[in-house]
């Protein structure tokens, strides 16, 4: 993005990347509180954010465990969500060149936010810059937020502050851009419908897996 375009936008791309990271940090607090309430220790909660580092999968695993689901269904659901990072990696691999060690590090930062920020740039140099800046900023804030949430998590009743609604609301904010086109809306509607219909009859966690039949609307050519 040119300087003129950045000024016209009211903020520089650098600032946008950092602000996005800080915003995700708030969500990290909600994750920390949720994970500790689901029975994770502070150390496990922080290790999850440091090592797994992909928000939707972490939330999904925690919500399955919190609902009484098995570790297998928690891992299965979280893995399906993590699979999309492979698609983001494919997208970014066309721009992120360099030594293997650098690409192995970039892999850990390949998530929704860094890919979205990078792909919204117009030239290769600002794309690479946006990827690293957003990835690192989200990594730092997400982990600081998780630590803060895990520390206060046991001291408060999450339901009293409506924090149990923060989880699904975070998902709403995450899914919104994916529903901006008709195919995405159809996949979302099928996923939501299948989940709703199977909640009363299947063990916790499985309805999320069944919802993946929604991706089959992609079989037909757009």
């Amino acid at each position: 993005m040119t300087t003129a375009a950045a000024v016209a936008n009211g903020r520089s791309p650098t600032a946008a990347c950092i602000v996005l990271g800080a915003a995700v940090g708030v969500f990290g607090v909600a994750f920390g509180v949720g994970a500790v309430s689901a029975g994770a220790t502070v150390a496990m909660t922080c290790a999850m954010s440091l090592l797994v580092f992909t928000g939707a999968s972490q939330f999904s695993a925690v919500s399955v465990i919190a609902g009484g689901g098995s570790a297998t269904s928690a891992i299965a659901g979280a893995s399906l969500l993590a699979a999309r990072n492979a698609v983001y990696g494919l997208t970014m691999s066309r721009r992120l060149r360099g030594p293997l060690i650098l690409r192995m590090a970039a892999a850990q930062l390949t998530i929704d936010e860094s890919t979205a920020m990078a792909t919204s740039q117009t030239d290769d140099a600002s794309m690479t810059k946006a990827f690293w800046l957003t990835g690192l900023s989200v990594y730092v804030f997400w982990n600081l937020g998780t630590l803060a949430g895990a520390l206060i998590g046991t001291a408060i009743d999450p339901a009293r502050f409506g924090l149990d609604a923060a989880f699904p609301a975070g998902f709403v904010a995450m899914v919104a851009p994916h529903l901006s086109h008709p195919t995405g809306r159809r996949a979302g509607l099928i996923g939501a419908g299948v989940c709703l219909a199977t909640i009363p009859v299947l063990p916790v966690g499985l309805p999320i897996l069944c919802a993946s039949v929604g991706i089959l609307v992609g079989v037909r050519r757009p």
């Binding site: 797994v52 709403v172 991706i215």
Partner: protein, 103 residues
């Protein structure tokens, strides 16, 4: 929640990231596979919204979360920032509970 779960998830999550960026990066997948994979977030995250708003311990439940998430969804549709959507959901849910309007 166990350490085994944390490490298994970490290995799987990093595996997918490396798979896309380093191992098959640059190569092309069949178009139909790419189209379907691109719809994973739409289908699965929508299901997570339903699951976390309308269920508890494997049962369908209607409680204060529905109001909070409903208002938050409206805010997201009106393009409210990420943080605002989350804060609105928590605040509305907390207020509904504080006034005893719903459990």
């Amino acid at each position: 929640m166990t350490w085994a779960l944390v490490f298994t998830l970490a290995a799987i999550a990093y595996g997918f990231k490396v798979l896309g960026l380093v191992l098959i990066g640059g190569r092309d997948l069949p178009a139909v596979v790419e189209r379907c994979l691109g719809l994973v977030p739409a289908a699965l995250i929508s299901a997570l919204v339903v699951n976390d708003t309308l269920s508890a311990a494997g049962e369908l439940v209607l409680d204060a979360r529905v109001v909070g998430v409903g208002v938050a969804a409206f805010a997201a549709w009106r393009r409210a920032p990420f943080v605002a959507v989350i804060v609105i959901a928590a605040a509305v849910t907390a207020v509904v509970r504080a006034f005893g309007l719903a459990p």
